[in-house]
C-alpha cells in the first residue's frame, strides 16, 4: 500500500519553535515574538511539504534485525524490540521542500538572527508534518496500535539506512528528497521514519527513554534537567 502527496502547513507550533531556540517554557519578549511571526510567514510561503509512504509486511525478525516485504532489512536490536508484535510497518518520509533550503540560505546572508528563528520554525514544522503524515497512516489502519515513530539514527538503527529507505520510497523522483553521502537528508528539513503497525496493543516494558537516544548525555534538554518528552 502506498500513501503520500502534499501536506498542508497552515501554521508553525510557536511553543516548539521556541523550545528549539532554548526558551524552554519561558515566554519570549515582544521583539522575538514578532520575529517568530515574520519567520512563520516566510516559511509558510516557501514550504511545499510532501510525503511518501509504503506500508510493508514484516517478513521475519530476529533479535537484531527486522526484514520487511521487498527485502529491506532494518538492522539493530532496538528496532527489533521496537517493532515487537507489529505485523506491518509504514516506512515514510516527509520534506518541507528545497524552497525552504533556499530561504534559509538567503536569510543567513541577510540576517543571522532571523535565520536561527527561521531554522527553528522549520524544524518545528517538519515535526508537525510528520505528525500529520502519521495521522494519515493511523486513519488507514483503524483499530490498530502503533508504537512511536522511529528514525534512522535512533538507538542502534544506523543512519546509513537513509539511502535504501529513500530508494524504496522512490523519494528522489516522487518528492525530490535525497540523501547526501554523509546520509544527511537534502532538502535539509526532512525526516524519514518507520511506524510499526500492530493488530492490538503490544505490552512492552518501560519506554525507551533517554537511555536509547543517540543524543543521550549531550542533549540540551538534559543539560537543563528536562526531557524532550518523546
Amino acid at each position: 500500500m502506498e500513501l503520500g502527496g502534499e501536506l498542508a502547513l497552515t501554521g508553525v507550533d510557536h511553543r516548539q519553535a521556541l523550545r528549539g531556540l532554548g526558551y524552554g517554557d519561558r515566554e519570549p519578549d515582544g521583539g522575538t515574538l514578532a520575529l517568530l511571526e515574520r519567520c512563520e510567514g516566510e516559511l509558510l510561503a516557501a514550504a511545499r511539504p510532501r510525503w511518501r509512504c509504503r506500508v510493508l509486511d514484516v517478513l521475519d525478525r530476529g533479535a537484531e534485525r527486522v526484514r520487511l516485504e521487498g527485502g529491506l532489512t532494518l538492522p539493530g536490536a532496538d528496532i527489533a524490540r521496537h517493532l515487537a508484535g507489529c505485523g506491518r510497518a509504514a516506512v515514510f518520509c516527509v520534506t518541507l521542500s528545497a524552497g525552504v533550503d533556499a530561504l534559509l540560505r538567503r536569510t543567513q546572508a541577510e540576517d543571522m538572527a532571523r535565520a536561527v528563528v527561521l531554522d527553528s520554525c522549520a524544524s518545528a514544522a517538519v515535526e508537525q508534518m510528520c505528525d500529520l503524515a502519521e495521522a494519515r497512516i493511523r486513519e488507514a489502519f483503524p483499530g490498530c496500535w502503533f508504537p512511536y515513530r522511529y528514525s534512522p539514527g535512533y538507538g542502534d538503527l544506523p543512519v546509513t539506512l537513509q539511502s535504501p529507505l529513500l530508494a524504496l520510497l522512490d523519494a528522489p523522483r516522487a518528492i525530490g528528497l535525497c540523501a547526501a553521502q554523509s546520509q544527511m537528508l537534502t532538502p535539509r528539513k526532512s525526516v524519514t521514519a518507520i511506524l510499526g503497525i500492530a493488530k492490538g496493543r503490544v505490552e512492552r516494558g518501560e519506554r525507551d527513554g533517554c537511555g536509547r537516544c543517540f543524543l543521550n548525555g549531550r542533549c540540551t534538554y538534559q543539560l537543563r534537567g528536562k526531557t524532550c518528552g518523546t
Binding site: A102, Q108, D111, A115, C178, M184, T186, L215
Partner: protein, 790 residues
C-alpha cells in the same frame, strides 16, 4: 538513420513506461531496475520489441539509474550495466527504431542544497555516457531532472564526452516549477543554450496538466518539443494512474497539433498507449511557431525577459571602492552577498558581477562568487570581465542563462569571447568601440554594433541574445557626446532591432549634483530606447526614474508596480520624525539588537573623532559581553544574542569603513580564526552563528564554508597563520572527517589550536579526537578565542 533525419517527420514517437512493465514481469519492490539488463535480458527484449511494434521511433534503453552512485551497492559496474542495456535495446530495435541511452538523475543533490559539485556530476554522467556511446546508442535522453544544474551537468558531459545528440526533459509540478523551483522558461532558455537537440517535459504530470506548460515552453525555445507524460495523476485510491490509453492518446495528439513534435509516455504507460497515440497522430499536422524567442535571461529559479526596462545593479565591482577591494582580498564573501541582496531589495533585476582587482585570482574568484551568489539570490547575473578565463569559469558555474559583459568590435576580442558565449548559451553585451577607440559619431558606433552582431551570428549566437552598449561618455569632458550616445541607442534599436545596454553613472563624473544628472540622462536614454541600464539601484531617484518611465509609457499596467512601490506614501502624512526621546548610547543599542541605529550611532561617534579601536574595545565588546552573560544565565536567548551581534556588526562596518578610509594600514582585527564545516556536512548554520559572534568580537574570520576537505583547512590555516581553527560537524557520519582534519593539521605541524562543536559532539569525544577545545555553543567559542588569541 539519425535523429536529424527523424526530426524531418511531422511527429516522432518515443516509447512509454519501463518501471511499470518490469514490475509486471516480477521486478521486486526496491530492486535496482537496471540490473534486469543482466539478470533478465528476455524481459527487456520483450518490452523494447513491444514498443517498436507499437510504433516507437526511438526507444529508451534501461539505463535510467545506471550511474555509479545508484549501482554502488550492487557490485556491478556502470560499463557492464549500460552496455547490456543499450545492446538489448539495439537488438530489439533491429534497425526499426533509434536507441537512446536513458540518463536520469544521479539520486544525490547538487550544491548548494546537496553535497555534489557540478564537476563531480559531470564526471558521473560522463562515465555513463561514454559507456552508452561505446555500446552504440544513437542518442542520449536526459530525463526526469528537477535540478537545472544537474540537467546542465548532463548536457555538458554529453557534449564533452560523446558526439551524440541529446533530448533533454525535466519534470514539473502543475504550478510550472520543478521541486527545486525551476520554471519551464528557465529550463527552456538554459538547455537550448547548452546545445540540446530537443527539450521538453516528462513524468510527474498527465497529458492534460502538461498542456499549459508546453505552451510556456514554446515561447522560450526554437527547438523541437518533447512531451512524455505519465498516464495521468496517481490514483488517490493507491496504485495506478487515472488516464486510460484512449484518453491519453487523444489528449497528447492534440498537444502534437499544438506544436509538440516528440511524443511518448512515462510512468503508468505501456505499448498500448503508444499504439493508440500513433493512430491518433495519423494525418494530423503540427503547428509551426510564429514568433521568435524573446530576449531573456534567467537564473535557475527566475526568468527575466527584456520586455521592459530591466535594471542591472552595478555595485558588485571593486572599481573605486576600497571596502570592496578589501573584501575581495580577504575573500569576504558575506560582504559581496550583502551587496547583492541590498541591490535586489532596492529593485535590481539583474546583477553585474565584476571581481577583478590587482592581486586577485580573478578566475577563481569569479567562480566562487557566482556559486555563492546563486545560492542566495534568484536574480540573473551579468558576468563582467575582460579575462576570457574568468568569464569561462563564471559561465560554467552559472546555472541559468547569463549575460557576458563584454565584447567590443576588435576581432581578437570577438574571437576570444564569442565562442564562450555560444558554448554556454549566454547573452552578450557588445561595446561600440574597437582597436581604434570609441568613434565620436553615432553612425560609426552603429557600424561597429553591426559588425559585432554579424560576428555573433556567425558563431551561432541568436540575434536576440546580442545586446549593444553605445557607451556613455562623461559630459563634463565631452558635452556633445551625450547626444551622440542617445542617437546611437535609437539607431541600434531601430535599424538592428537589438536590445541596448548603458552604464548610466559615467555621464556625471566631475559634475556637482550628480544624482540629478544621472537621473535625467537615464530618463532620456530610456526614451531613446535603452532596455538595460547599469546603475546603482540603491539610489532611489534612479529606480524611481525607471518606475516612472514604465508608468508613463503604459508598460506598468494599472500602475501596479508604481503603487506597490509608493502606494503607502500617497496617503500617509510626511514621514514621522525619529522618536524624540534622548539618544540611547551605542552599547545599549547593541544590547537591544537595534541594527540600523547602532550603525548610525557608530558612524556619528567616529565622525566626532572617537578612535575606532576604542569604540570596538570599550563599547562594542563590553556590550556583547553583557548579552553573552545573559545568554549563559538563561535570561537571554539565541535570537537576542545574534541580534546583538548583528547590531555590533553594523557598528563594525562603520569602523571598518573608517579604518579603510584612513589608509593607515591599521587593522581592526584581533587575530584570525579559520572556520569550516567539515567534509560531508552540507549544512552550516551552527558555524555561521559562531562566525557572526567572532566577527563582532573583532576577530578576522576566514570562513571556508561547508563540506570542506581537510587539505583546504590546512592550507587556509597555514596561509593566514591562524592561531585558532574552528571545526563544526553535524552528523555522526561526518565526525570522522573532523577527526581527519585535526589529524592532518597536527601531521602538517601547524601550531594552531583547534576548537570543535556540533550537535552530535560531547566534550569527551571532542578531546578524544585530538581537539584542544570543545565549544558547547557560540558564546563559548568566543571565550575560547579570547583564551587563545586574546
Amino acid at each position: 538513420m539519425e535523429l536529424e533525419t527523424l526530426l524531418q517527420r511531422e511527429f516522432v514517437l518515443l516509447d512509454g513506461g519501463m518501471g511499470t512493465l518490469l514490475q509486471r514481469r516480477g521486478l521486486p519492490l526496491g530492486a535496482v531496475p537496471e540490473l534486469a539488463n543482466l539478470e533478465h535480458p528476455d524481459w527487456l527484449l520483450d518490452i523494447h520489441r513491444a514498443y517498436v511494434e507499437a510504433g516507437s521511433d526511438i526507444i529508451y534503453a534501461n539505463t535510467f539509474g545506471a550511474n555509479r552512485c545508484k549501482l554502488a551497492s550492487t557490485g556491478r559496474s556502470v560499463a557492464e550495466v549500460v552496455s547490456a542495456g543499450v545492446s538489448l535495446a539495439r537488438q530489439a530495435a533491429a534497425g526499426r527504431a533509434l536507441v537512446a541511452l536513458d540518463v536520469g538523475p544521479i539520486g544525490r543533490m547538487l550544491e548548494p542544497t546537496g553535497d555534489l559539485s557540478l564537476e563531480e556530476a559531470v564526471d558521473i554522467f560522463a562515465e555513463v555516457m561514454a559507456a552508452g556511446a561505446d555500446a552504440g546508442a544513437d542518442l542520449i535522453a536526459v530525463e526526469t531532472m528537477t535540478d537545472l544544474q544537474e540537467a546542465r551537468a548532463a548536457l555538458l558531459a554529453a557534449r564533452e564526452h560523446t558526439g551524440l545528440p541529446v533530448l533533454a526533459t525535466m519534470s514539473f509540478e502543475e504550478n510550472g516549477r520543478t521541486f527545486l523551483g525551476c520554471p519551464v522558461s528557465a529550463m527552456a532558455l538554459t538547455l537550448t543554450g547548452l546545445g540540446a537537440s530537443a527539450i521538453g517535459i516528462n513524468c510527474s504530470l498527465g497529458p492534460r496538466q502538461m498542456g499549459p506548460l508546453a505552451e510556456q515552453l514554446r515561447q522560450y525555445t526554437h527547438l523541437p518539443l518533447i512531451l512524455k507524460p505519465n498516464a495521468g495523476l496517481p490514483d488517490p485510491a493507491g496504485g495506478g494512474y487515472d488516464v486510460t490509453a484512449e484518453e491519453f492518446a487523444r489528449e497528447l495528439a492534440r498537444l502534437g497539433e499544438e506544436g509538440v513534435q516528440l511524443l511518448g509516455g512515462c510512468c503508468g504507460t505501456d505499448p498500448d498507449y503508444i499504439r493508440l497515440l500513433k493512430g491518433e497522430l495519423a494525418g494530423r499536422v503540427r503547428r509551426r511557431r510564429e514568433a521568435s524567442v524573446p530576449s531573456a535571461v534567467c537564473s535557475a529559479t527566475r526568468t527575466v525577459p527584456v520586455d521592459r526596462v530591466r535594471i542591472i545593479g552595478e555595485r558588485i565591482n571593486p572599481t573605486g571602492k576600497k571596502r570592496f577591494k578589501q573584501a575581495l582580498a580577504e575573500g569576504d564573501m558575506d560582504y559581496i552577498l550583502s551587496q547583492a541582496l541590498e541591490q535586489t531589495g532596492a529593485g535590481a533585476d539583474i546583477l553585474d558581477v565584476n571581481v577583478g582587482a590587482p592581486g586577485i585570482d580573478e578566475r577563481a574568484m569569479m567562480e566562487r562568487t557566482v556559486k555563492a551568489l546563486q545560492g542566495v539570490t534568484d536574480a540573473p547575473l551579468q558576468l563582467d570581465s575582460s579575462d576570457p578565463a574568468a568569464l569561462e569559469a563564471g559561465l560554467r558555474a552559472y546555472c541559468g542563462k547569463a549575460i557576458v559583459n563584454s565584447v567590443n568590435g576588435e576581432p581578437a576580442v570577438l574571437d576570444a569571447v564569442l565562442p564562450l558565449v555560444k558554448r554556454y548559451g549566454a547573452a552578450v553585451v557588445g561595446l561600440t568601440m574597437d582597436q581604434a577607440g570609441i568613434p565620436a559619431g553615432a553612425e560609426a558606433r552603429l557600424a561597429i554594433a553591426r559588425r559585432i552582431l554579424d560576428r555573433a551570428l556567425a558563431y551561432g549566437i541568436p540575434r536576440q541574445d546580442v545586446y549593444i552598449d553605445c557607451l556613455t561618455l562623461t559630459v563634463s569632458a565631452q558635452q556633445a557626446a551625450a547626444g551622440e550616445t542617445l542617437r546611437a541607442v535609437g539607431m541600434v534599436k531601430e535599424q538592428l532591432g537589438l536590445k541596448t545596454v548603458l552604464g548610466v553613472s559615467n555621464i556625471s563624473f566631475g559634475l556637482p549634483n550628480r544624482p540629478a544628472v544621472n537621473q535625467n540622462f537615464l530618463t532620456m536614454a530610456m526614451a531613446a530606447g535603452l532596455d538595460l541600464p547599469i546603475l546603482n539601484p540603491n539610489v532611489e531617484s534612479m529606480t524611481a526614474a525607471v518606475r516612472c518611465f514604465h508608468l508613463l509609457t503604459n508598460v506598468d499596467r494599472d500602475a501596479r508596480d508604481f503603487l506597490a512601490a509608493y502606494g503607502g506614501e500617497a496617503s500617509a502624512a510626511p514621514a514621522a520624525p525619529a522618536p524624540s526621546g534622548e539618544k540611547r548610547p551605542l552599547g545599549e543599542l547593541v544590547e537591544r539588537g537595534l541594527r540600523g541605529e547602532a550603525g548610525s550611532a557608530a558612524r556619528a561617534l567616529l565622525a566626532a573623532g572617537t578612535d575606532p579601536m576604542a569604540l570596538v574595545n570599550e563599547v562594542l565588546i563590553p556590550a556583547l559581553d553583557r548579552v553573552g552573560e545573559g545568554f549563559e544565565r538563561g535570561t537571554l536567548f539565541l535570537p537576542q544574542l545574534i541580534q546583538a551581534a548583528g547590531a555590533a556588526q553594523a557598528a563594525f562596518e562603520a569602523v571598518k569603513d573608517a579604518v579603510a578610509a584612513r589608509q593607515s594600514g591599521q587593522s581592526v582585527s584581533k587575530g584570525t580564526v579559520v572556520l569550516a564545516t567539515v567534509k560531508g556536512d552540507v549544512h552550516d548554520i551552527g558555524k555561521n552563528i559562531v562566525k557572526v559572534l567572532l566577527d563582532n568580537y573583532g576577530y578576522t574570520v576566514v570562513d571556508l564554508g561547508k563540506d570542506v576537505p581537510p587539505e583546504q583547512v590546512v592550507r587556509a590555516a597555514r596561509e593566514h597563520s591562524a592561531p585558532l581553527v574552528g571545526l563544526s560537524a553535524l552528523m555522526t557520519t561526518t565526525l570522522k572527517s573532523m577527526e581527519q582534519t585535526i589529524a592532518l593539521l597536527r601531521a602538517e605541524g601547524l601550531e594552531c589550536k583547534v576548537m570543535v562543536g556540533g550537535a552530535v559532539l560531547t566534550e569527551e569525544y571532542a578531546l578524544g579526537m585530538g581537539a584542544d577545545y570543545y565549544a558547547r555553543d557560540a558564546k563559548q567559542s568566543v571565550d575560547i578565542a579570547r583564551r587563545v588569541i586574546g
